[in-house]
């Protein structure tokens, strides 16, 4: 079976392929000659993952999966959420985003937050949504250089280091994205 991952990130694609049997061949957007910008205009994380997967399935006819990720901060009623990447503006700068978030939480007591990744899978006319969550809290300052995005200010539950200080293998094992990917992989391995 051919299955499109609505991404052109070669690392992500190789990672997923390595967890699946050869009978499932993962294709990138490039592989199916999809070079247009896929809309990400939904107002929820789930909505964006659905938009991307549906775009590929409806326009190109492939089984497909797509992911979207956001950081939900309790004291900010779940913001920045679906707008995490462009929280401080369309320049999508991680440092600007973190500064804005630290400022927004300056006078808040609760610093609880969670990362959430949703993967939408369109498979043989059915749609599945897998969700991975990593709970934790927003630190007062940026620490660490691994990872990307909000990792330097996110301390996962039960750890005393930020995602940006933890080794990639640890982040993958306890992280939101790793958890969602594992559900997708288990499902595909069981059904295909």
């Amino acid at each position: 079976m051919k299955l499109v991952f609505a991404s052109n990130n070669k690392n992500k694609i190789a990672e997923i392929q390595s967890m699946l049997p050869e009978s499932i061949k993962i294709l990138s957007l490039e592989d199916i000659n999809c070079f247009e910008d896929i809309p990400e205009t939904a107002d929820t994380i789930e909505g964006n993952a659905i938009l991307k997967a549906d775009y590929v399935t409806q326009k190109f006819g492939y089984n497909c999966f797509a992911d979207d990720t956001g950081l939900e901060v309790q004291a900010l009623n779940g913001e920045p959420g679906v707008y995490s990447a462009r929280y401080a503006g369309e320049q999508k700068n991680a440092d600007d985003n973190m500064n804005k978030l630290l400022e927004a939480l300056k006078n808040e007591e609760s610093r609880n937050a969670q990362f959430k990744t949703v993967i939408t899978l369109n498979l043989d006319g059915k749609q599945y949504l897998f969700t991975g969550i990593a709970k934790g809290e927003i630190t007062e300052t940026k620490t660490g250089t691994n990872g990307f995005g909000y990792d330097p200010i996110f301390k996962p539950e039960n750890f005393d280091k930020t995602f940006a200080e933890l080794p990639l293998e640890t982040k993958n094992a306890i992280g939101h994205r790793g958890k969602a990917v594992q559900q997708l992989i288990d499902f595909l391995n069981a059904t295909k």
Copy 2:
């Protein structure tokens, strides 16, 4: 395999059992002598579904699934969300909740909303989150007598009737809960 559904609703339990092979025996909370109130204190829909499933698995040692549902209104930044059942107060009255929501949307242009059901499945040490979404809009007035909760003011996408006017079979086929249940069933049928 025995699998606990963290519920005592006999209709819901019979519905799920009817979609699974006999080798998977669905147990209610009563069946496992769990009579306490399971906490639903999380601040997200996902969080409550996880709390409930984890409570049963950790305290009683069973594989278990639990669901939680909320209505997310775009103009209200996703509220009432996890607080849908008690939006107008702890009396959890559907009419009070609908009145409060109609009032809150009185001067809003957008009436877009979505129902979301999350099912958390704890299975053999792994956790899976399945999500079902029904998009639609909040009507100006209450119409229809079927269903419960916000159904009389929720008009699903592509329909000109509210959930409370549609036959139960239609609501199950296009609804948030039905979609989440179907993902759970497909997963269990494939893996067990």
